[in-house]
């Protein structure tokens, strides 16, 4: 870790808040509903980030606070009970309801934990009502998932059986593929968290070994540890190198013979490296600047530099959890510049000065940078795309090669754009 340069920056930030993770969480658990207790801004944020008009009735919504809720005329708790009852009456298929705290609900201190307890008792086991905060004054983007998972942990049954738990939302096909690989290694008892149905929570306990599939699960990891689980130290399963070390960490924990591990992974690695080759040609030597957003920035930087030969100008991250990132930081090249936090104006000044070939950034910043002639990649795409595992390494590289390829395609006969 001593090899990297860690700096902190404060100022105006340009990142999503934790509410945004509802966008993928509701897809992962189709029997759950996410009810934000917040303002019209919260409702507008989620619908803008998710493009929700495609849903007839989405599995998320906002209980919008109104003037009278703030003035104390209406007891906010009574109002919330009314809204929840109406919702559950209309949507009887809901098994788990998450009450999601927001900036305004945190500031006026609506006690959602108490509300969840009270409502769970009222619904008498038919629906489980939980709460967590996705507020932007406490969480960024992917931290919302951390909160939701943490809220589920108390409901997970205890068991002492030996098992592997994959924590963090993965795309379904990727999850299946990773399980197949673990099966080949002889690890048969594998669960995923979050599960595909909110009611099918895996059991956990002292025999549970946890592999974190996502790098933003600080609180979840701590709670799992408190329940006796062992958190395996590994980089995250992005790229060939990260995925290999990640799988090997589980293999070691389950005392799988080294020969079996290498004979299982070796062909996959060779195939993945072959598939990566054309992208390495496109990415190698290109300058990369990552702006903070998804918390996936460090593992992505490690993959793009170590395996694809990209030059890291700056790696921005919303916050740094040193313990969780330890192995990742060790793998990064010497003197990699890592900036925790953000001053978006100064950071954009540095982007312009360093003239990178590719910038990974949020949706609000992409077109303005493109208009300045800088190719961009949306960081939100990383949380929607199946990118984890050895087999997905070339797909992951392709996501970054595409904007560069497109830039080359279009630059031959370019019109002057405003």
């Amino acid at each position: 870790m001593s090899g990297t340069t860690l700096l902190k920056e404060t100022g105006p930030r340009e990142v999503f808040c934790g509410l945004t993770s509802i966008v993928w969480l509701h897809r992962r658990m189709p029997d759950a509903f996410f009810l934000v207790v917040g303002s019209r801004t919260c409702a507008h944020l989620i619908q803008s980030a998710a493009g929700v008009m495609i849903f007839a009735e989405p599995r998320f919504g906002t209980a919008i606070l109104e003037e009278r809720d703030l003035a104390g005329l209406a007891d906010a708790h009574e109002e919330l009970d009314r809204v929840v009852k109406n919702l559950l009456k209309r949507r009887p298929e809901i098994r788990t309801l998450f009450l999601v705290g927001s900036c305004p609900s945190e500031v006026i201190k609506i006690d959602l934990a108490r509300a969840a307890e009270r409502l769970t008792a009222q619904f008498n086991g038919q629906v489980t009502i939980l709460n967590y905060s996705g507020s932007g004054i406490e969480t960024t983007f992917t931290q919302g998932e951390d909160g939701a998972l943490k809220a589920l942990i108390p409901l997970m049954p205890s068991s002492k059986e030996d098992k592997l738990l994959l924590a963090g939302t993965l795309a379904n096909p990727v999850e299946d593929r990773l399980k197949t690989i673990f099966n080949r290694l002889g690890i048969k008892n594998i669960d995923s968290f979050p599960p595909r149905q909110s009611t099918e929570l895996p059991s956990i306990g002292p025999g549970t070994k946890v592999l974190l599939a996502q790098p933003y699960l600080t609180d979840t990891a701590r709670e799992l540890k408190d329940r006796g689980c062992e958190i395996l130290q590994a980089p995250f399963p992005l790229g060939v190198e990260g995925s290999k070390l990640w799988i090997e960490a589980a293999a070691n924990a389950f005392n799988i013979k080294k020969e079996l591990v290498s004979s299982t992974l070796e062909p996959l690695i060779l195939r993945a490296q072959k598939a990566l080759k054309p992208y390495i040609e496109q990415l190698s030597g290109k300058k990369l600047f990552l702006l903070p957003e998804s918390q996936l920035e460090i593992p992505l930087a490690r993959f793009l530099s170590n395996e694809c030969g990209m030059e890291l100008v700056e790696v921005g991250i919303p916050y740094l959890n040193r313990e969780m990132m330890r192995t990742e930081l060790e793998l990064l090249p010497e003197k990699t510049r890592i900036i925790e936090g953000q001053h978006v104006e100064k950071q954009l000044d540095r982007v312009r000065e360093s003239n990178p070939d590719l910038v990974v950034c949020g949706m609000g910043l992409a077109n303005p940078l493109e208009a300045e002639g800088i190719s961009t990649k949306w960081s939100i795409e990383m949380v929607f795309s199946p990118i984890h595992g050895i087999d997905q390494a070339s797909d992951l590289a392709e996501l970054f090669a595409r904007p560069l390829h497109r830039h080359n395609l279009l630059s031959h006969k370019e019109l002057e754009t405003a």
Binding site: E14, R40, L45, A49, G61, I64, P104, G136, I137, T417
Partner: protein, 530 residues
Amino acid sequence: MELTLWTYEGPPHIGAMRIATSMKGLHYVLHAPQGDTYADLLFTMIERRGARPPVTYTTFQARDLGGDTAELVKGHISEAVERFKPEALLVGESCTAELIQDQPGSLAKGMGLNLPIISLELPAYSKKENWGAAETFYQLVRGLLKDIAEEDPSQPKTSWKEEGRRPRVNLLGPSLLGFRCRDDVLEIQKILGENGIDINVIAPLGAAPSDLIRLPKADANVCLYPEIAESTCIWLERNFKTPFTTTVPIGVKATQDFLEELCSLLDLEVSNLINKAEQSKLPWYSKSVDSNYLTGKRVFIFGDGTHVIAAARIANEELGFEVVGMGTYSREMARKVRTAAKELGLEALITNDYLEVEEAMKDSAPELVLGTQMERHSAKRLGIPCAVISTPMHVQDVPARYSPQMGWEGANVIFDDWVHPLMMGLEEHLIGMFRHDFEFKDGHQSHLGHLGGHTNQSAETSREINKDAINQTSSKEALLWTPEGESELSKIPFFVRGKVRRNTEKYAIQVGCKEIDGETLLDAKAHFSK
């Protein structure tokens, strides 16, 4: 507390951002937590803007709340002024900051900065986006002009005739994230030019604060979008005696009325240009024989106030449609929409709940829906063709080509946009003739029919509607359709079949008939056609 799954309008500070981003030389310091920065993507993604909105978010965090958030706000203000060097500064707060009451506007004014500072108070828990835009525009104009207004309360206006120049007007209201504003402005500018009228200032779109100072130099104000500009127009009239137009020039007749109104405000002779039929192709296209099939098409209209009122008039007076339902999500425009609906013998639906709109749509069994992107989705589920006429904006509502809604060209665009999702006249006739041939697929629509939903979906939906109808009646007593009755029903065009089934069942219940055959169907048709 109100359960909202989706909302037509954002919070009021989004309206303020629309004004700030539409203009040049203006900067907006918004006291707001980091999540509120999502709003940038509305402009950079939906409008594909190549520049960031001129907004500095203070992005305060929970740990700041224990300390001095006022200092944090001041720091961001001086940094923004230093960096962006705006001509004027808007200072306001979003929903969360409103709760912590830092009064950023007062803080900014106390900093001794050498530029006009407009403090915005936009109540986030009771108002919405369009109101916020209107209030921001009004506060900005008032803030920049009030000294001039006070100095000079009753100076008589010299007329353009006395000054020996052409009359000039301001175009007020066009903004980013407004429906087709970019092109409407060009079209209106062109039409006014042809009629001997010059443009003084267009605002907020493209204007700088220094341009707003020139607003009083206009002989009249054109209120293009009342949602955004009406309060400003009223203030300018009160303080500078500048009259303003109340007709929105969407549709051929409204464009004519608008020009007549403006000419009368300006004391300018109405040019004979405005009655020339060839100005717009809509009147002739509507008269041409192919358009016979448009007669009495049932239309359901929902959107913002301005576009709904205009659409109802065009549908009714220029295309010969029958408006069977209309409404708006703009509470501020509710009264005007109610009045317009009443004139058509309808009761307007005023709601922000898209599911309620979908229900009303279903109940009125329209053949065409004119709505927002949300109604497009609802109509798709119901298998009804739809054209989008209003915000909220979607990336598809910012087309690359020139496509205004206002003026003569706007009327052309409207004719195409509304009529293409429907089956063409000749096509419909042929389908009627050949629909029993084996090649024919039920639910076939024109080559553009996919805009309004496709075959399987519409078939499914009509089945769904049938189910609904059965559920509704079964509580009373079971009605039986004979095979012959079903076969007659299947000959009814798919898009009205659901309604015919419902009406027939309603009739059967009324007359106490339990079995529905072909005769019952014809009886019902006669009963309801009176």
